[in-house]
Point group: C2
Chain length 259, copies 2
């Protein structure tokens, strides 16, 4: 593995505080692999062999049931995913696939479990990571249960432009994926998007332009208790991730789901 990646991983909140030799031990058996686009990395129900860390590219976490699928999150560099399954050594609840050519570091989960048995700092970091992830899913569940499709989309748009000066942004994923994340069909998303033109959001291809933020806010009623802290972008779908440690309600960007 290249030193530059190693350094980058070392700076992740999860690994930053741990002892040098713990880190070395963890990385000793690590793999560094690059996958093409649209490769399924893990299947739900499988046993967790590795903690995954996205170094370049992006990964979709999704869930399947019968013939249906829903995307739960998109993980971007540099973040880990499926931490919880690795910790519990229990079957993955979600599946994962690359959305583009993606570079992943794979840490054997046995090593992971061994190391946080001995390295208290690492255990503390893990606690923080898990608590953040937990809160992320709770917010997602609240979003889905409390708002309708229109309100969710409006809220998403506001999240994506919250702390940027700009009144427009590029949807960072295929619209069908955004639809799935928001819990609607692509057709519904398309129509809903159109209907938002009357309340302040125009769409042009992958670009969304906010024409009336106040009006949008009147629809979405954004709340930090659903949309996350002010500083962060949509953790799950936007998320350039973060070398920053902070609390999920104070950091620059909250960590995406970890599963």
């Amino acid at each position: 593995m290249r030193d530059s990646e190693l350094a980058q991983i070392r700076q992740l909140p999860l690994f930053r505080t741990m002892a040098d030799d713990s880190f070395a031990l963890l990385m000793r058996a690590a793999y560094d692999q690059t996958f093409p686009a649209f490769v399924q990395l893990i299947e739900q129900g499988a046993e967790p062999d590795f903690l995954h860390i996205v170094v370049e590219g992006s990964v979709e976490l999704f869930a399947r049931w019968q013939d249906r699928e829903t995307t739960m999150a998109v993980v971007r560099p540099v973040s880990s995913f499926i931490l919880a399954a690795c910790i519990k050594d229990a079957p993955y609840l979600m599946a994962a696939r690359t959305l583009e050519k993606t570079r992943i570091i794979l840490l054997p989960s046995v090593d992971l479990r061994a190391v946080f048995q001995t390295d208290h700092k690492f255990a503390m970091a893990t606690i923080n990571e898990l608590a953040s992830c937990y809160r992320s899913v709770v917010r997602h569940a609240k979003d889905i249960k409390l708002r309708n499709a229109r309100e969710r989309l409006a809220a998403y748009i506001l999240r994506k432009t919250r702390d940027s000066k700009s009144a427009s942004f590029i949807i960072p994923v295929e619209k069908r994926l955004l639809a799935s994340y928001l819990g609607v069909t692509p057709e519904s998303l398309s129509r809903t998007m159109k209907s938002l033109q009357e309340v302040g959001a125009k769409v042009d291809g992958q670009r969304v332009i906010i024409t009336d933020r106040k009006a949008l806010e009147a629809v979405a009623h954004p709340s930090p208790l659903i949309d996350g802290p002010d500083c962060d972008d949509e953790a799950a779908l936007a998320g350039a991730a973060l070398l920053d440690d902070g609390d999920d309600d104070e950091s620059v960007v909250a960590r995406p789901y970890t599963y």
Copy 2:
């Protein structure tokens, strides 16, 4: 606080493995309070002062947005809730109210944070607890996003009778609350319940009787990746909780949400 409660709490997975003096320190400043029914214990957005442990009675965790409410979980003895908020020292994402006369132990969250800085065993237990809670919410989100109301209800009924010999059970909460948990209106639940008569589930007041389990399964397609491990009951809404440690996919009963 009475010794019997103390012993019971000590046996919780979260506290069982920690050092005696850590436990004593944690309990030193603990309150033991009994609340009447329908008292709001915490409000969403508030700062977490105490980790709550339900000793007797039951507590609803719910979320609010605009004029809407949705119940996220019901916590029963002996379980803690709002662990994640206490750890992160970040605002509660959910509110909590008693559903009946309820006895609660309150542990100052500053003590909590202090103790797992020093007690590695406790940190490990916290990691396990959080990972379980995380997986619970993921399952809830999957349930909501992947199944429709009818399928969710059928799955709920199957969960409630999964490992019992009996073909019937008593709905442990008001139906309106169950409706909210399942993400539908009370009217919808009532109608959906009725519609399930044709596929194997009769309802008589608070009692649900399964007349054709196979037919119900054909609707619900129960899966451990949504409905939880075989051994457990619906963690959130059923949950007599558990002095058992186990992994959420192996224990007798998974721990409810912790927030």
